[in-house]
Symmetry: C2
Subunit: 233 residues, 2 copies
């Protein structure tokens, strides 16, 4: 959450981002910890009065990751009454020694537009926002307790990711440009949360006709070297 | 747009619904015409301060169609700056002889959460809202010019519908509980905007394994009677 000037932002509306990265083994997301509160949350922010919604989310992602031109997509807008928790926000403002009177609008009910991003884990140095101590990668099955409905937002993002596994965007954005079949299988396993059979997986991926095969990746014994693949443009 | 009391609603946020029905031949949507303006728009409304977002959209749909428990799903939140058009809203208020001063909040920028609904065309008697003269069914390829970005919203809804054609929700909600293969094919053709080969279509639908086959539909010559189908529960 950048700047807090009352007049600058649309009230009652925020965005939150589930930023996925894959460290070669585990599917992880970025989680913020707010100053002096012990509260964990998804990185998010507000929309300026003269700014497009998608632009605001994109800008927030760039600030947290340093990355531009990243895969970022809306997936759901959360607007239940139950997600409203003025006390949590009050706690965060106080933890930052900010005036709860002046920043009263932040204690109101917010409807939040949720985005998910797929980024190249290796290229990122995460940056916390002004209200937070830290921002860190957490494996999706080892998250700290998240505030408000942020856990539900993560679960919905995972659902969408699973549904989109057949679209090449997932692997394209989470893997380096060339990868082995094993590497690709690991991404899928991390997202699905289950082990896959190597032969079945390979057959399925090749049948989708979205991969180009390249040279072999030589390391150690040549006859065991696996092929490298990339996604077709 | 129901009631207009400033304090009752969340400002800057609206919803709009693309309500699809299938008249046996054409895919249609409901379009409102505002009083004394010549402006056409999707049915929509605002979210009360103490009401969940999805509840607001559901309530709006019931008011316009008389139907409850209808398939209604969010698909995108539109928040571009370009969609903001205070003049159009001013025109609508004036056309309804409403005070633009008192209702100033309605002239502000709105971010809108878009929903699509699939309803049984035969069961509906559409009801206009307070600001409108009429609400009518229009074939998706014969829409009147819609205000603001509503045309874009319809196009995105159609995209989502096409993507979801393999989920049985589409036919299940647009058709009566029992239908012929020809009837089903007509829904698909209406959504896709193209003709399909009868034999290919039938083979594909049967291979999806989502249909139960029932008795034949006897009308006229018995040996030509087509089978009736329903979607598996």
């Amino acid at each position: 959450m950048e700047n807090l000037k009352n007049e600058e932002f649309i009230h009652h509306l925020s965005y939150d981002s589930v930023i996925f990265g894959f460290n070669g083994k585990l599917l992880k997301i970025l989680v913020l910890e707010y100053h002096n509160t012990g509260l964990f949350a998804l990185p998010g922010g507000f929309v300026k009065r003269n700014q497009s919604l998608n632009e605001a989310a994109k800008e927030g992602l760039t600030k947290r990751t340093g990355l531009k031109n990243v895969f970022l997509e809306q997936f759901y807008t959360f607007g239940e009454m139950e997600r409203y928790d003025g006390n949590a926000m009050k706690h965060i403002l106080e933890g930052n020694r900010l005036d709860t009177g002046k920043n009263r609008w932040m204690l109101d009910r917010f409807i939040t537009v949720a985005y998910y991003a797929l980024i190249n884990y290796d290229k990122v140095t995460p940056v916390p926002d002004e209200l937070s101590d830290s921002i860190n990668w957490y494996a999706v099955d080892e998250l700290p307790p998240l505030m408000m409905d942020h856990k539900e937002i993560v679960e919905k993002a995972l659902e969408v990711l699973r549904k989109n596994l057949d679209r090449k965007i997932v692997g394209m954005n989470l893997l380096p440009s060339k990868f082995t079949m094993k590497h690709l299988q690991q991404v899928y396993e991390a997202i699905l949360g289950e082990d896959l059979r190597r032969t079945t997986f390979q057959r399925k991926m090749l049948s989708l006709n979205v991969l180009d095969r390249h040279e072999k990746l030589y390391q150690g014994k040549a006859h065991k070297a696996p092929y490298l693949y990339s996604f077709k443009q």
